[in-house]
Each structure stands twice: as structure tokens, then as C-alpha cells.
């Protein structure tokens, strides 16, 4: 990271991204060192051995579409294809849901375009029993764990089959059977909760690790610090992921302090093992997650992982990114498209081809469409049916207390 420009003029600094709308994208300051291979210490190493890794970038897939280096997880073609499948499914699902939101079928949506490798890679590297505390941009974890797409859509439609009874905004999934915690609308709150969950697992000795995800912007919240502090003090088996997709709605990563140090390097101050990973490289994400999981499972404590990526689309259905960054920025992102990269790797390996890719895309599109048809048959937010109205008075407490019962009666339901 380069030090932000300093000056003798009076005034404090307000960091600026390298390019605003109308200007040429410029990622030269990010130090993405795409070629040099990065050492891989053993997962059982001292945390301090990982500190050089906080300022480099773990990559496996090179520009030649070949996997190499000490971090290569050496996955079978089958596993690689599974990863591609999950990412593609995420992407196609996201696009369809966005369209449906635009048609008024749901109130809100958030895509993870450009970041599909992060959820897919981690989701596959972890065991099903490992607990997940995601943010709203890791829907790929659900696909990695095989959640029923219709159920996911029913949630987003807030319909009668929504497993959250219409109580949450779309995309704010919960799936206890899949060891997937509840996504909060409040940024960062899940990070220290994940450490608490991991501590309970450690106390029980159940041999699971817990993983959580927040964004670059969210690192600024106090809860980020609370999580790192707890993770350091109690050496909990937890993986704390910072998804640095360069933007927090309209604020670039520098507004969270990302211009002066990498987010990975935050871990150094806590004595946490620390990795900085090419987030658009499915294999690198997979390998780093495996490393951290192995460390955690061995009772050696927590790892902070920064995955460097780019939010290729809008923050959500509520903003227009062309108002705050160049339209061309996504295309100029030096780490490429995670899906294309894995696809090209498989093709280079001779394990995939354009025709199979197109067929998969088509199959997934069909699956998504069919799922949507089925989900819609259970209702939409606008047309109903919704979960029964009296259900809105349930689950505030284990049992409905008198005052809430009265309120329900007041509403006449």
C-alpha cells in the first residue's frame, strides 16, 4: 500500500479514489503483484510467520490459466467443476433475482457479481459442520452447501413459504440446518458473535471451525475490533474474512483506512495469523480457507483473511454506481473475473470446453427459472400469500407475553 499523499497545507486529508466517473480506472496503487509466488508456511506456524503475507497476495491461478505455487490445493477436475458450477449458479441466480426485483416481485436485492469465488471457495473448503456467519454478499455459501433454491427464493419473495416468515429483507438468509447463521442488516455484528460461537465449539471440543465474513467498509466498525480482540485473547477456532471489494456503497476502501495499510495487516496488531488472498482466484480462496481451518481445528487459533476482489455491480438495488465510480472500472479490474478464470483453467486442463460451459449455463438458467416458477406459486410480497398475519406477533419471546397477545387481539388477528 502506498501512503496517502501528505501535505503541509492546513486541513485534514479526505482520501479520494484514484478515479471518479468520467476518469480512467486506475488500480496501480493496489500492489497486486500478480506474478510473484507467495510462500506458504505450515498452518501450525507462529502467527508472526504469516505477517509477510499480509502485504502480498496469495494467488494460485496465473495469467496463463495454470495453477502453481505452494498454495495450489491440487483439486481434482471434478472438484474444480463443482466450484465452477456453484459460481455460475450464484451468478445466474443473482441476475434473475435482480430482474425480478426490477419487476416488483421483491422489495430489494443484492448481487455478489465479481465475488463468486469467495463464497464458493470457502464454502467448499469448509466442512458442512463448520459454522458460517456471513454478510449479505456470500449467497454462494448456500449453493456450496446445497440449499434448495426454491427455499431461497421463497425467502426473497417474502411469501408464505419464506422460512423467515416474511420478517427479513430479501437476501438476509438464515438456514440453521445448513449451519448458516442469520444475516443481519447491521454491519459487522456477526463478527464477534462468530468468535463466541467458535468458543462454545472449542469448549465442547466438537472439532468444527467457525467462519465469518464482512466487507472492507465494515472493518471500520467497532465490532471488527471486538472480534479480533476476542479471537486473539481466547485463540478461538475462527476464520475472520474481510472481503475487500474496493467499495462500501459509494465509499472506496480508503474511507475505511485501506489506503494506508492492507486490511490483512490489521491482524498483525492482534497477533493473529494473517493471509491476503486473490479473491477472484477460486483456488487461492480455497487453499487459504483450508489452511486457516486446519490451523483452527488444530487448536492453534484464529486467522484473519483479506480477500481482494471487486464489487462488479451495484451495491444493491438502491444505488447507481455510475454516480460515484467509472463505468469501466469493473472491466479494468486487474484480477479478472473469477468465473472466467476458473473456466479457463479447466479448459487449459482439458477438463472443460465452451460447449459444456454453455450447456451448464443453460441448465442453470432453466433450473433458476423453474425454481422461480415454483417459488412464485407460494406467493410474492406484492400479491401474497404471505405468512399468516398473526405470525408477526410470534417469536418475539419463547412464549407470547400478555402485552403482545393483547396487541395481536387489537389488530383483530
Amino acid at each position: 500500500m502506498t501512503q496517502a499523499p501528505s501535505s503541509n497545507a492546513p486541513g485534514f486529508i479526505v482520501p479520494e479514489p484514484t478515479a471518479r466517473p468520467g476518469e480512467a480506472p486506475d488500480f496501480s496503487g493496489l500492489n497486486l503483484n500478480p506474478t510473484s509466488p507467495v510462500e506458504r508456511p505450515e498452518p501450525g506456524c507462529e502467527a508472526s510467520q504469516t505477517y509477510p503475507l499480509a502485504n502480498t497476495l496469495i494467488r494460485v491461478l496465473g495469467d496463463d490459466n495454470v495453477a502453481s505455487g505452494p498454495w495450489d490445493p491440487k483439486l481434482s477436475p471434478k472438484t474444480l467443476r463443482e466450484g465452477l458450477h456453484i459460481m455460475l449458479k450464484t451468478q445466474i441466480y443473482d441476475s434473475r433475482m435482480l430482474k425480478l426485483q426490477r419487476q416488483g416481485k421483491m422489495s430489494f436485492y443484492m448481487k455478489s457479481r465479481g465475488e463468486e469465488a469467495i463464497a464458493a471457495g470457502a464454502g467448499m473448503a469448509l466442512e458442512f459442520e463448520d459454522m458460517l456467519f456471513p454478510s449479505y454478499r456470500q449467497q454462494g455459501l448456500l449453493f456450496a452447501r446445497g440449499r434448495d433454491m426454491v427455499d431461497m427464493m421463497c425467502h426473497c419473495l417474502s411469501n408464505a413459504k419464506d422460512n423467515l416468515k416474511g420478517r427479513q429483507l430479501p437476501v438476509h438468509y438464515t438456514w440453521a440446518e445448513g449451519n448458516f447463521f442469520s444475516i443481519s442488516g447491521n454491519l459487522g455484528t456477526q463478527f464477534p458473535q462468530a468468535v463466541g460461537w467458535a468458543m462454545a465449539s472449542a469448549a465442547r471440543g466438537d472439532n468444527t471451525v467457525t467462519a465469518s465474513w464482512i466487507g472492507d467498509g465494515t472493518t471500520a466498525e467497532g465490532d471488527f475490533h471486538g472480534a479480533c480482540t476476542l479471537a486473539s485473547v481466547y485463540q478461538a477456532p475462527v476464520i475472520l474474512n474481510v472481503v475487500n471489494n474496493q467499495w462500501a456503497i459509494s465509499s472506496f476502501a480508503g474511507i475505511a483506512g485501506g489506503q494506508n495499510a492492507t486490511f490483512a495487516s490489521r491482524g498483525i496488531g492482534y497477533g493473529l495469523a494473517t493471509l491476503r488472498v486473490d479473491g477472484n482466484d477460486f483456488l487461492a480462496v480455497y487453499a487459504a480457507t483450508k489452511w486457516a481451518a486446519e490451523r483452527g481445528r488444530a487448536g492453534l487459533g484464529a486467522t484473519l483473511i483479506e480477500t481482494v476482489t471487486y464489487r462488479a455491480d451495484a451495491h444493491s438495488t438502491s444505488d447507481d454506481p455510475s454516480r460515484y465510480r467509472p463505468r469501466e472500472e469493473a472491466a479494468a479490474w486487474p484480477l479478472g473475473d473469477p468465473i472466467e478464470r476458473l473456466k479457463d483453467h479447466l479448459i487449459t486442463l482439458g477438463e472443460w470446453d465452451e460447449a459444456r460451459h454453455e450447456a451448464l449455463q443453460e441448465a442453470l438458467s432453466k433450473e433458476v427459472l423453474a425454481s422461480y416458477k415454483k417459488a412464485e406459486s407460494f406467493g410474492t410480497l406484492r400479491e401474497g400469500p404471505l405468512s399468516p398475519t398473526p405470525s408477526m406477533f410470534e417469536d418475539v419471546y419463547a412464549e407470547q407475553p400478555w402485552h403482545i397477545r393483547r396487541q395481536r387481539q387489537d389488530l383483530g388477528v
Partner: protein, 340 residues
């Protein structure tokens, strides 16, 4: 005198900030996405370009740090106006508000003060789900040392924001986001209304202020007093009209310190009262109003004071309109109070 223009509440807030930044170099404005982008609702749009990055800028996503930074700046002679992106997200900053902001003048015996403004959009009716719909004003009314206000229209929004920035006390302004682009009478099935047809959508372009601590009787009446604020002012007016009830409707505007004189006079006249807010019922601000009204107007009251409020649950996304205290519930409460 300055011109009058038709403005939405967003435009009126933007205009207030513009006027304040122009007139007083101590004023600065910041918040998450509130610099270059101009805020997720656009309230600070164009201001960074006009006043520069030292005056209008983006803040990191840490509401505690935003409040603390504002306190430090205000203590050091500035007049910061910080935006909290949604009222639902003010809680990481709650400690800085309760323990620091509200007590600085007191604990230093006036040696240090923090004259700043926190602005934050609140309330439901926009399908925001439980984390973009809260009306958390009651929490803040229990904190001695801060002024708490909520405007119900563009004219007041601008005038109160100017008054807040010019006040020597810390002021917390809740902006009902359901009213940002137009008045809302409680019926979600009607086409959206616009402020341009509303008299309070006529806003002077220049400097003026609406005093804090003063309620407004938005409709005189003799049968019953409705005490409310924010979005519910419009719902109350429409409900009274629909039911043909001769209601006196009070828009409280400032919650602390509240204008008890106006309330007591009205209840003294009507002898009946309904308190209305969107926030949950238990320990909502309505409770404070009812407690005080019954203390002061006990002998004038001909019926128990009723409250119409949000339910004691989180704001349920899909059941938005079963949660929102709408016309039907207001009419029923007024009718029951009249018949009691």
C-alpha cells in the same frame, strides 16, 4: 426576504445545509456516503462540490466514531452536522451520545460544550424491513442533555435543522423517510403524493428557522386532541377527516423538551386525547406524554388517554401494513375515546 420554492423534504434539508454551510464557516457535514455521493437519500447532494472536502465529506462506517468525531470538532469550535445513514444504525454510537455528548456541558460545568446536530432518517412504510424502519426516538428522550426533534414536512425540516445548528445544545433530528418525497396519509394503496401540492412544501430558499421546543396545532378542533409527530401527523389528519371527527391535531415537532403548554391547553379544552406514534408501544414516547398529560389534565379528562403505536415486535418486512399504525386503528381509537 428570500424566494419561496417548492421542495421535497430532501431538498429542504439540502437547502438548510447549504444555507448553514454558506453562512457559517464553522459548519461542516459528514456521514457514511454523505460526501461525494451526497448521501443514500441525497440530502447532502452537491454540497461537497460546492464547499470542498474539508466541509462536506465521507466518514468510515463506524457510528460511534462519527459521533465522537463530531463531539471533538464541536468542542473545538466547529458546528458539525453528522448524518447517521439510518436511525436503525445509530446504536453503535449510543454510548457516545448517552455518556459523552449529552453530559459534556454538565460534567465540565460549561467549560466544554458540543453544539452539534445528528440527523438520521427513521420510520417505516418503505418496505425497509426491521433494519431500515425503526423509530427509536424514545430511547433518546430518556437522555437528559440532548434535544430530540422530528419534523413532519419540508418547511419544518429546513427551519428546524437551521435552528438546531444554531442552537448551543446537541440536537438529534429524526427525519421520517416516508415523508422525504411526499406526504403520506397512511394508505399505501393510494398513488404517492408529492410535496408540491402541500402548503408546507413551499420553502423559503434562504435563511429562516423554526424554533425548537414549540409544537404546532396543525388542525384546530374541539372534540378530541391528537398528539403526534412525524409521519403520523398526516395519518392523523386524514383519519380525522375520514371519520368526520372534530379533532385538534398537534404536531409536537420537538420531543424533548416538549411543548406541554400547548398540549395541556388543548386537552383542557377537548377533555379527550389520543397519542400516536409509529414506534413500539411499551416505553415509547407516547408513554411519557400520557403520563404527563394525566398528571396535568387529570380533572379535565373525560376518558382514558389512548395510544396508537407500532407493535412490540421488530418491524416485520412482509407485514409492513399490519405493523404500521394506520387510519383504521386511529379511527377506532378516536371513536372509542369519544364514546368512552
Amino acid at each position: 426576504m428570500s424566494d419561496i420554492k417548492k421542495m421535497t423534504m430532501i431538498q429542504a434539508i439540502n437547502s438548510a445545509l447549504d444555507v448553514l454551510l454558506e453562512r457559517d464557516e464553522r459548519v461542516c457535514s459528514f456521514g457514511e456516503d454523505a460526501g461525494y455521493f451526497g448521501g443514500v437519500f441525497g440530502c447532502t447532494q452537491g454540497l461537497q462540490e460546492k464547499y470542498g472536502k474539508q466541509r462536506v465529506f465521507d466518514a468510515p462506517i463506524n457510528e460511534a466514531a462519527i459521533v465522537a468525531m463530531a463531539i471533538g470538532m464541536a468542542a473545538n469550535g466547529m458546528r458539525p452536522i453528522a448524518e447517521i445513514q439510518f436511525a436503525d444504525y445509530i446504536f453503535p454510537g449510543f454510548d457516545q451520545i448517552v455518556s459523552e455528548l449529552s453530559r459534556l456541558r454538565y460534567r465540565t460545568a460549561g467549560q466544554f460544550t458540543a453544539p452539534l446536530v445528528l440527523r438520521t432518517p427513521c420510520g417505516g412504510g418503505i418496505y425497509g424491513g426491521q433494519t431500515h424502519s425503526m423509530s427509536p426516538e424514545a430511547f433518546f428522550t430518556h437522555i437528559p442533555g440532548i434535544v430530540v426533534a422530528m419534523p413532519s414536512n419540508p418547511y419544518d425540516a429546513k427551519g428546524m435543522l437551521i435552528a438546531a445548528s444554531e442552537s448551543d445544545d446537541p440536537v438529534l433530528i429524526f427525519e421520517p423517510k416516508r415523508l422525504y418525497n411526499g406526504p403520506f396519509d397512511g394508505d399505501p394503496h393510494k398513488p404517492a403524493l408529492s410535496w408540491s401540492a402541500h402548503p408546507k412544501g413551499e420553502v423559503p430558499t434562504g435563511h429562516y428557522s423554526v424554533p425548537l421546543g414549540k409544537a404546532e396545532i396543525v388542525q384546530e378542533g374541539n372534540a378530541i386532541t391528537i398528539v403526534t409527530y412525524g409521519t403520523m401527523v398526516h395519518v392523523a389528519l386524514e383519519s380525522a377527516k375520514m371519520a368526520g371527527i372534530d379533532a385538534e391535531v398537534i404536531d409536537l415537532r420537538t420531543l424533548v423538551p416538549y411543548d406541554m403548554e400547548t398540549i395541556a391547553k388543548s386537552v383542557g379544552k377537548t377533555g379527550r386525547c389520543v397519542v400516536v406514534h409509529e414506534a413500539p408501544r411499551t416505553s415509547g414516547f407516547g408513554a411519557e406524554l400520557m403520563a404527563q398529560i394525566q398528571e396535568e389534565c387529570f380533572y379535565a379528562l373525560e376518558a382514558p388517554i389512548k395510544r396508537v403505536t407500532g407493535w412490540d415486535t421488530p418491524y416485520p418486512h412482509a407485514h409492513e401494513w399490519a405493523y404500521f399504525p394506520g387510519q383504521e386503528r386511529l379511527i377506532r381509537a378516536m371513536t372509542e375515546t369519544l364514546e368512552a
